[in-house]
Symmetry: C2
Subunit: 421 residues, 2 copies
């Protein structure tokens, strides 16, 4: 089964917003064995929508459309779908009751004509009930293609995909199996990894596809197998991942497609009953924020200090003033004292500390823009109770912060793994 | 001039990564008056790429392609472009010298065949030199369409768009003017805003388009004017924004398209020489992280405490233990003490404090999942030195955190503006 995802809205075409909806839909459909043919963003003009529907008719079996279903005048998807299906809009009583309940019951204001109009749907559509918003989803079929139209508000779209679209597709259509397996590596660039695994790659069976997904400091390798026999696919993937691990086991850090380092760290810390805290300067709280983005993180994350101003470093983290004067705030010495100070203050096994100049301007230190010191306090006896490294991440600011955060997580991961051996 | 943006790579089609490149390219082209017709993501298969090139030929004047230029086997854009242009790959000496310099000089390792192959380009292509990476950009013209191919690594793509593609288009093509103006509102939903401005919207001139961009708690209204006389467009936009402000001035908080609340806050704080710090529990450092994402934030942001564990609240922020026992950690009383404790500790004019349960599980408090208390310490004399509000943001966790952060910024903005009057 082939599908195309269509996003309607000028805000994507002028780059005002990033299309995150399509990635969510793609992932959800891919999981149930649907092959995503294309993702298309078009303007919210009637002609453009009609031309796109026509172009997709019978090219794919499923078209998932988001956007253009809100209550306002720039939302024209519903009317255009009606035209395309030579249909008329009729009031759906169940949707009307739900919208009335939501507006009058929850938001406590009188229902307006604009709200009532949200209950209008093409008469041929199967309504997909949107419990978390006012715009209903719609399912319409013409010849060999099903057109599903969903609101563009992310959590409403997500609700409808998970609770309506995916279950309905699973019930009504046969699909092949697709299995992905991602191998996370770090420390070597894309071309070096490619060279090391060239012979292995050339020996992959026809039905397994390999993709390289590079990002600063790491390369993810994604194997995708497609076929009708799930067990055959599963075995082939496992076999090939095993043989890959024998070649580049030294740089492999994980295997789960969605696994971010903060998820891996969370699991490691929870399992080993260890705790972590942070003392952040140039990363400004991002390390704490990512650690706490994981449900259940309160088990291992106790807290942190964002010591942006120098006096926060000296007064809260107790970094000696003389040290700052001698070496400047962006220095190995200060990073180490920040980590040890936070460890004393917050009483955790590990502490991640960062100090650097993220730019774009030079700050209170002679250090070059892009320089970052990352210190890690550990539960080991001295001198292994502290590690510190210096990095030069260049520019822009955003990249410096992101690389510092990633690198800090990698240092922590390496250290925890080392202590477990 | 019409353009279509094409992203090549299975990782987008299976939802493994979000396509942020297209938004950047769209925004850059929109700024110079190019009309983005479509944004398309396709698989990295030769047939699909060829079919797409053919489909776009003469439909638009400019096609910007990203992805599929890396050194590894899954990158086939270059070879396919060669086929489409009935061309052959030749070594570009300037690119070869640059790749050699980068690998041997910067990365300090011997150059491999895979690296050398990156200097191969179609003979008909104008090379766009990529100073920040090894894959060159390419500019190829056929009939009425220019095809530009760029690497998919975001900072390499950005470098080439800003330094090569945009300057070349500006030099070589005539384009109309496009002016966007965004009006940021908050506190009222999309349909309520639509009702209030209905008459104004119906009176907009033909060449001005209005779009509603809703997100939790706020609606952005975007006016886009297009034409040949820049002054006429500018005047019409200004006139209509003026008349709009007269109708909904009470809910307008800003006018800049890209302006996030943290940018607005940064400007307000800098201008008024005021400082802020944070005491975050459920938001886990995200408020500090967003405040420090702005260059120059060290002028007004001094630091923060992420007090995730209860003992961090009592020991560092000095929240009385009895208060926590009596009211629980998720309470108005604790939020207020966190803010006042941080104000004393960090000595700033304002403090944002959050405590809540972001879910998915109930925590150390009887408070419902989604409950958040936000307190704001101010420089005003008591009892106006502290404000605290209670919110119920529902689920999922991510939404609770994001809405808490947004709401906290809105409270701070409102308070600063009030104090300036």
């Amino acid at each position: 089964m082939k599908a195309t995802i269509v996003t309607i809205g000028d805000e994507i075409l002028i780059g005002q917003i990033i299309d995150t909806n399509s990635a969510f839909i793609a992932k959800s459909l891919d999981k149930i064995g649907i092959d995503i043919h294309e993702v298309i963003s078009i303007s919210d003009s009637r002609d453009h929508i009609l031309a796109t529907l026509k172009y997709l008719q019978n090219q794919v079996e499923l078209v998932v459309i988001t956007g253009g279903l809100g209550p306002t005048k720039d939302d024209i998807t519903k009317k255009t779908l009606c035209d395309y299906f030579e249909d008329e809009l009729v009031v759906n009583e169940q949707v009307l009751a739900h919208v009335t309940e939501l507006i009058e019951g929850f938001y406590k204001r009188p229902i307006s004509q604009i709200n009532k109009d949200q209950a209008l749907v093409p008469s041929k559509a199967t309504v997909l009930h949107n419990k978390v918003g006012t715009a209903p989803g719609m399912w319409l079929k013409k010849e060999n293609t099903v057109f599903v139209s969903l609101p563009g508000v992310p959590y409403e779209m997500k609700y409808l995909i998970e609770n309506e679209v995916v279950p309905k597709v699973v019930r009504e259509y046969k699909r092949p199996f697709i299995i992905h397996k991602t191998v996370l590596t770090y420390g070597q660039g894309e071309s070096l990894v490619a060279e090391r695994i060239e012979a292995w790659e050339n020996n992959l069976p026809e039905f397994i596809k390999l993709a390289y997904l590079p990002s600063p400091g790491r390369v993810r390798l994604r194997l995708s197998a497609r076929g009708t026999d799930e067990q055959v696919l599963q075995n082939a993937i496992e076999e090939n991942v095993d043989s890959l691990s024998k070649i580049i086991g030294d740089i492999i850090v994980g295997y789960d497609e969605n696994e971010t380092l903060e998820v891996i760290l969370g699991r490691l810390l929870t399992k080993n009953k260890m705790t972590v805290s942070t003392a952040e300067s140039c990363t400004g709280g991002k390390i704490a924020q990512l650690l706490t983005s994981i449900p259940g993180s309160s088990v291992y994350f106790k807290g942190g200090v964002v010591s942006y101003a120098t006096e926060v470093k000296t007064e809260i983290l107790k970094v000696p003033q003389e040290l700052i004067e001698k070496y400047s705030v962006v220095s190995r010495e200060v990073a180490i004292e920040m980590a040890l100070g936070a460890q004393k203050l917050l009483q955790t096994d590990y502490v991640i500390a960062t100090t650097g100049n993220a730019g774009p301007e030079k700050g209170d230190s002679p250090a070059e823009v892009g320089t970052v010191f990352i210190a890690l306090a550990t539960p080991n006896p001295a001198p292994n109770n502290i590690i510190c490294e210096e990095f030069h991440f260049g520019q822009p600011r955003e990249k410096v912060i992101d690389r510092a955060v990633n690198t800090a997580f990698e240092m922590l991961q390496k250290e925890i793994l080392k202590n477990l051996l």
